[in-house]
Structure formats: C-alpha cells, structure tokens
C-alpha cells in the first residue's frame, strides 16, 4: 500500500493554487520593477570596514623610517598560528632590532594578538583585505613589505569603550 502523508486540512484560502499564484506573480513583479538591488558591485563599490577590522599586517616605523620593532620576541611567542618568524639582532649601541621578520599571511588567523602584545606598538593588523597572490611564497611578507604597507591600522577592542563609539 502506498504511504499516505497526513496533513491537516487547511482553509481554502490557504490551499488555492490560482489565488496563491496571482499573489506570487504580483510579488515578483514588484521586485522586478524595484530599482533597489542588494548586490554590491565589488571592485568599484566597497564595504566600509569596521575600525576594528583585523586584516593584512603593517609594521609601523619611527621618524627615521626604521621599523619600531625591538625584536623582543613576544609576537612569535603569542602567535597561535605560529606564523611569525623573528631573528633578533643587536647593533653596536646595544639596541635590538629584527634581522629577519616575516609573517606568513597565508597561515595567519588574524586574531590580532601580535598587535595586542607588542610593547612598542610596532606590528599591527590593518583595515585591508585584498591580499591575493599568485604563489604561496608571495604570502610571506618580509620586514620591507610590512613597513611599506600604507593602509590604516586596526583599533583594537578597548575595555573602556566596548562598543567602539
């Protein structure tokens, strides 16, 4: 015997096909003529990023154009994705600086801990997201490339102003 699905009987106005069809066609026609479209025309039209957006990294520099980083080693220490490579060096005056500073953007999870932990406010995550590359090697940003970034940096969450106002 065929399986019978029991459905509660509904009032005629809910089951009528013709009426429902006409109603549906009125709705679709309304949308057809509605000039407001929800699609974003992406390359031309871009979303306003939140001031707390955590995207492509940027290394800030001092007034001499040198990276602010003092190679303390906190950011590779805290990085949960282990994507920061830091080899510290020291000049003749005893100032530490990074000999090698590389961030693998492909591996990064953009948690922003490196920015939070940085005592010198050198490394930042930035308000920028278009960082596609043709090769995997291209995603490893070295110090030169990190300092060359110009996009605005992320304003991290501030406990005094939790809603970012």
């Amino acid at each position: 015997m065929a399986i019978q699905v029991k459905v509660l009987e509904r009032p005629i106005r809910q089951t009528s096909y013709v009426r429902a069809m006409l109603k549906g066609m009125a709705i679709t026609f309304k949308h057809l003529t509605n000039p407001h479209k929800v699609t974003w025309q992406y390359p031309e039209q871009k979303w306003d990023l939140s001031p707390r957006w955590r995207g492509t990294h940027r290394m800030l520099t001092d007034e001499n154009g040198k990276a602010k980083c003092v190679a303390c080693g906190l950011c590779p220490q805290i990085c949960p994705a282990n994507c920061i490579k830091l080899v510290p060096g020291e000049d003749e005056e005893g100032n530490r600086y990074p000999l090698v500073y590389e961030i693998d953007e492909f591996r990064c999870i953009f948690c922003g801990y490196c920015q939070e932990v940085c005592p010198e406010e050198a490394i930042h995550v930035g308000r920028h997201y278009e960082n596609s590359e043709y090769s995997r090697a291209g995603f490893v940003y070295d110090l030169e490339r990190l300092t060359a970034q110009t996009h605005p940096v992320c304003e991290m969450w501030d406990p005094a102003d939790p809603r970012g106002e």
């Binding site: 029991k6 509660l8 009528s16 013709v18 679709t28 929800v38």
Partner: protein
C-alpha cells in the same frame, strides 16, 4: 503570339500585389530561411541573457553586467565558452543515439517556426512575398506534428545516457508531453471552429476581420497557455529537468555544444509557443485598432509596422514565460498528471462541446462573423466573449476551491483532528539533546 504570352507573363510577374511565383519565389524562400534562422538564433541567444537578467531583477540582483555594455555581450561569451568546452562521452552511453538525441530535439524546435506568419506580406517588384517561410495549408497540424517529435530527442537523450536520473527525466518528459498534447490540441480546435481554416495566415486574417480570439475563446486561451508551458518543459512543468531531484534530468550527461543544443531547443520551443499564442489568440501580426495597416493593398511600411507589432506581442509572452518561471515552484509528479488528465482534459473536452454548440447556435440565428453590434463591437465576438467570461468564472470558482492542486493528504475528520490536537497538547515539545 509568343511575344504576347511573354508580355502577359511579364506583366503578371511584375504585379506587386499578386503572390510571387516561379524562380523569385525560390530565391525569396531561401532568403527568408536564412534571415529567419539567423534572427531566431540571435533571439534565442539574447533570451538566455533576458532570462538571467529577469531572474536577477526578480531576486533584487543586477544580473550579468560585466561582458560588454550592461552585460549585452554575455551571450557571445557563453556561446564561445560552450564551443570551447570538452565534449564528454560517458563510457556506458549508447553513442549513436547519444549523439543523435540533441539533434533530434534541436531540429523540430527550429523548424516549427517555419509556418508562423510574422508580418504582413511584402510587395516587391516580383510580386507579393508572404512573411512566413512556408504558409502551409495544413498550418497548425504541421506544428502539432513536428512539436510532438521534440519529445523523442528528450526520451532518447534520457535513455541513451545510461544514467538513472537521465532516464527518469526522459520518462517524465514523455508522460508529460503526451498528456498535455491532448488538451493542447483540443484547445486549438475551438480556434479552428471560429476561423474555419487551419492555415495560420488565414487564422490571422480572420482575426483581423472578426476581432482577436483571446476574448471569445478565453478558456481555450488559458488551456493553451498552460499546455504550452507543459509542452516546452518550463517551470512549473520542468519535471524532465528538475535540478533539485534529477540533477539536470535528461541532459545530465551532456556537455559543451550538445548541452547547448538542448538549451537552444528549449528556448526556440518557447519562442515558437509564444509566437503561436500570438498568432492563434492575439491576432498574429495585426496591429490593434488600425485597420489600414492590417489590410491590402500592401506596402513595405505596413510590413515593418506589423513585424514590430508581432515581435512586441511575442516578446510579451516570452516575458510571461520567464516571469512565471521565477515565481512558481515545480509541481509534484502526481499533481502534474492529475492536472493534465483530471482537470485540463475534461475542461478542454467540455469546452469544445460548448463552443461548438454556441457557434452552431450563432450560425443558426443567422449572425455573420463580421456583423457588428451598434456598428462598433463585433456581435459574434461579443456574444462568445460573454459566454466565455461566464464559463471562466464558473471554472475558476470551481477550481479555486482548493481542488486545482490538491493538498498532500487524505482528509482528516473532526475526530482525528481533535485527537491530533489533544496529542500535541499532551506531549511537550522535545528538548534539544534529549
């Protein structure tokens, strides 16, 4: 004597209001075939764009707008892509029929357009050229015959693919097209009753004389409309394709140009069906309320105006196809069959009897089809129209009582209903993770 005959032939051949014949007829036919084929293919290409644009607008999107100005070169890009794609041949498929099937749906779809008159005749130096490729005396019968050949392509595609989804699609389409062809044919018989001729050009010219048939044959028009949707496998009748259940139905295994040919066949069927709706019920190329342009003597500007008019009317029905496609969901298979056999067929049969009786009664009362009520409204047309409105109200009131497409249930009596309600109150809603 020879000279006299030659002169007569000469004069006859150069009368622009007499039908063209002889060698010029052949040349004009070849030109018409080439032009109509080209225009039809370009129209089909742009229908795919129109479909995507309309679907996008209905869903509050923009639609394709990157290739060319406002996306207008999109069909070219699509065509190029389809030609460049790899042709796949499933190893289990039966190759001869697998290759033949797209051709078999493509050719009937295109040649049905041959009999449709798309403009008023064009007078030339060699005589009057009919603006249809071949104005066959059997007109509509030819369309019924060729259109039903289209189902072979789909069934063979489904069978030869050796794929269960494709086979199901093919089976569904054969059942669907055979079912709806019956009511389609019966719906058109009422048109033939009024025009007294199956040739499409005489159907158009009799509509010019007596008024368009959509009003005196309102129900016939609706029946034909629904059947035409079913015949062209468009939503809400696209069960042979049914992306969500059958992947893509009969053309699951097809790629590249062979897939494209099924697509072209679908759109050209759509165009033909729209052109037929126009020709049979909306006066074909006739311009409303402008008798001069619709009648002889012919002139080239009349041809141009009527061609534009025909395109507008056909375009409207094409838009209706797309509008309905992006509004309605697909029928279930049992609903499709019950609408076809239990609703459409009885209505078409009963309607044919009523209309035949009405036409007989009007003829017996001595009302000529061209007589006009008060010098303006055609009597015949008005009386039949009023009869049809009464019938339409009856049919739609009866149909609209929840019977057209049944709810998926057996009836639940008041006792069961009370029981179900009691059950739902007794048993609390299940807790998540319980």
């Amino acid at each position: 004597m020879n000279m006299c005959a030659a002169l007569m032939l000469f004069q006859h051949a150069y009368d622009p209001q007499a039908p063209v014949h002889g060698a010029p007829w052949l040349w004009f036919s070849i030109i018409k075939i080439l032009v109509v084929f080209t225009v039809l293919m370009v129209t089909i290409a742009y229908l795919t764009l129109a479909e995507r644009k309309i679907s996008a607008w209905i869903q509050d999107r923009h639609g394709p707008n990157r290739v060319g100005p406002r996306g207008l070169a999109q069909p070219l890009a699509d065509g190029l892509k389809n030609i460049m794609k790899e042709e796949t041949y499933p190893s289990a498929a039966y190759s001869p029929l697998f290759i033949l099937a797209p051709v078999m749906s493509f050719i009937p779809a295109l040649i049905t357009f041959a009999v449709i008159p798309f403009a008023a005749p064009l007078p030339t130096r060699w005589g009057l050229v009919d603006m249809s490729i071949a104005d066959l005396p059997v007109g509509f019968l030819y369309i019924l015959a060729i259109a039903s050949l289209g189902v072979y392509g789909i069934v063979l595609a489904g069978w030869s693919s050796n794929n269960k989804y494709a086979l199901l699609g093919g089976l569904r389409s054969s059942a669907q097209m055979v079912s709806y062809e019956v009511s389609m044919g019966l719906a058109v018989v009422s048109v033939l009753l009024l025009s007294g001729n199956v040739s499409l050009s005489s159907i158009v010219s009799s509509q010019v004389k007596t008024g368009w048939y959509f009003f005196p044959l309102l129900i016939g028009f609706f029946l034909f409309l629904v059947a035409a949707f079913a015949e062209t496998n468009r939503l809400p009748f696209d069960l042979p394709e049914a992306e969500s259940e059958l992947i893509a139905g009969y053309h699951t295994e097809y790629s590249s140009m062979k897939f494209s040919m099924f697509f072209i066949a679908e759109y050209s069927n759509m165009t033909t069906a729209s052109a037929l709706l126009t020709t049979l019920f909306f006066g074909g190329w006739a311009v409303p309320f402008w008798t001069t342009v619709n009648t002889a003597p012919w002139h080239w500007w009349k041809t141009v105006i009527t061609l534009v008019c025909f395109m507008l009317k056909t375009g409207f029905f094409l838009f209706l196809y797309m509008w309905i496609r992006w509004t309605l969901p697909r029928f279930r298979y049992d609903q499709l069959m019950s609408v076809g056999w239990k609703v459409m067929l009885p209505i078409a049969l009963a309607y044919l009897v009523v209309m035949a009786g009405a036409v007989l009664a009007l003829d017996a009362a001595g009302i000529a089809p061209t007589a006009r009520l008060g010098g303006f409204l055609p009597t015949y047309w008005t009386l039949l129209g009023v009869l049809n409105i009464v019938l339409a109200v009856l049919v739609f009131v009866v149909l609209d009582r929840g019977r057209l497409v049944s709810p998926a249930s057996a009836r639940v009596g008041p006792v069961e209903l009370a029981e179900l309600r009691a059950m739902s109150t007794r048993r609390p809603a299940p807790v998540q993770g319980d």
